[in-house]
Symmetry: C2
Subunit: 310 residues, 2 copies
């Protein structure tokens, strides 16, 4: 297999698949395009949760219990912020802060987020290409029944995704563009994967970057989504709850429908025995990644299945 | 004693006297004016070492061994910066970073350093007034024989004040002004103390703020310097080494001479039995502060001596 794979992802679920792909592909075969709609400013630091989750996962530094943050990290800065009377709802780790400091400093020196990310991943010895979906700061805004419109991290972390979502909006997306690096990776891709990330919160922002849909679909290549929903439930996070709130049936079927004009293949879970994939190719695999071996196994089976299309 | 005391200081030595004064004066009687020539940007954070040392000391949070930084602080962010390949010569503590984050955020919101400092001290429950010498960013630059001109922290921390100093320069001092708060404190002062700080590195920057000398000397009140030199040696830091390099005799006498046009009283150490203070009042006291009680005792004796002038 000498094919080039581009994988679009959000946070933890997507990072697991990326880790699986990294185990079976040569580094130069894998490019990861990451959602930046979750990015925000906090205490003057530019924080990119999804980029960090994927970066820490690929570096082998991620906290194995949470799936995000750094293994063995402490929260002493946070504790000191609390002594100053701050409401410390966002779990800033001390080691994690080093990443935010270097990123923020790089951006303030005029570097693009793509360049800063390249620098950070190189320093951590990550050989794969990790690309933000765009260099323009955009922000996923969550309109809720109970609190009106909330910034993504306030909705997701501070309020633990409990508010009822009415609508999603991407602030500043009209100013965003596909970066030359993402453009190039997509132009050279043999396969595009849509990771098992939240379609609305993680993948929708990527697809919303002006020019992204065209860049994804301009050539006739396999574009395959892996389901984040198993038997109507999200493996992690608010995907299933959100589907209901946005008026979708809580089923992998809704994911197929959501992706129907952009992907041509769908990987659903073997537990969804009654699922019928219509309008595109479909395959049932064990999509639940509980171990490192599971990740590699799923990645291999997905790519093997795609190879069988020819 | 209902007198108002303004104390000019740098870092550790000055902070000890301030702590002594805080033990014997009502909070509203004490204003501390702090050197900001050591301030610098590091990883995008605005760090004010002397302000922090005095603030942490007054809050009872200072590391009792070093005399600066926070007691029990850790360096996990620093360790993570090191993992990114950074040369971590400046000992950023994790708890300490909380201070730098809040300060930097406040400044970036357009607050003056005086306002930010007021906010931070209030949050830590410090009732005394802590004022930066000016709101304008200035920087002590150290011209050295071996390495040319160095930023203060590079000279002081990274190179452990080992280079030979040829000259000192205060970058941007021409743009600085005495803040309304310092102006007001000096106008209401009954006594001005010059803490046992390095006269060249800590007090000279304060005196160099345009308008500061006039504000200090416009009224005929006691202005008393406490020696940082005992028997030709600095209690801490490079004061004695620097004196020799700048062409002064390594003696408290040189401190008297340096301050002669600005102070009218000098407190030297009882160990300097042969010192003759000329051109101003002088008194020998035990200036070595080894315990909290020593600090209060020195503060009380200094103020008692000044009271005896009338």
């Amino acid at each position: 297999m000498a094919l080039n794979v581009v994988c679009l992802v959000g946070g933890v679920g997507g990072a697991k698949l990326v880790h699986g792909l990294a185990q079976i592909l040569e580094p130069e075969q894998l490019t990861v395009v990451v959602n930046t709609g979750d990015d925000f400013w906090h205490y003057g630091l530019r924080i990119c949760p999804d980029l960090d989750t994927v970066m820490y996962t690929l570096a082998g530094l991620v906290d194995p219990v949470n799936g995000w943050g750094l293994a063995g990290d402490t929260r002493n800065t946070l504790q000191a912020l609390s002594r100053y009377g701050e409401d410390t709802w966002f779990g800033l780790g001390d080691q994690d802060i080093a990443t935010h400091l270097l990123r923020t400093e790089g951006l303030s020196q005029g570097k693009r987020l793509t360049e800063v990310t390249q620098d950070l991943t190189a320093r951590l010895g990550i050989p794969q290409r990790l690309l933000p979906m765009t260099d323009t700061p955009v922000a996923t805004m969550v309109d809720t029944v109970e609190h009106g419109e909330l910034g993504f991290q306030v909705y997701f972390v501070k309020m633990r995704w409990q508010p009822t979502v009415k609508n999603l909006r991407l602030s500043n997306i009209e100013a965003a563009a596909v970066s030359p690096e993402v453009e190039d990776a997509l132009a050279r891709a043999d396969v595009i994967l849509f990771g098992p990330s939240n379609p609305w919160l993680s993948i929708m922002p990527v697809l919303s970057v002006p020019g992204m849909r065209e860049a994804l679909t301009s050539r006739d290549i396999p574009r395959v989504a892996i389901t984040p929903i198993i038997q109507g439930e999200a493996v992690k996070g608010p995907a299933s709850k959100l589907m209901a709130e946005l008026g979708y049936k809580q089923s992998a079927k809704s994911v197929v429908q959501y992706y129907q004009h952009i992907v041509n293949g769908f990987v659903y879970d073997i537990r969804d025995t009654d699922l019928q994939v219509e309008g595109m190719r479909g395959v049932a695999l064990n999509t639940l990644m509980q171990s490192d071996a599971d990740r590699a196994s799923l990645a291999r089976q997905v790519l093997d299945w795609i190879s069988s299309w020819n």
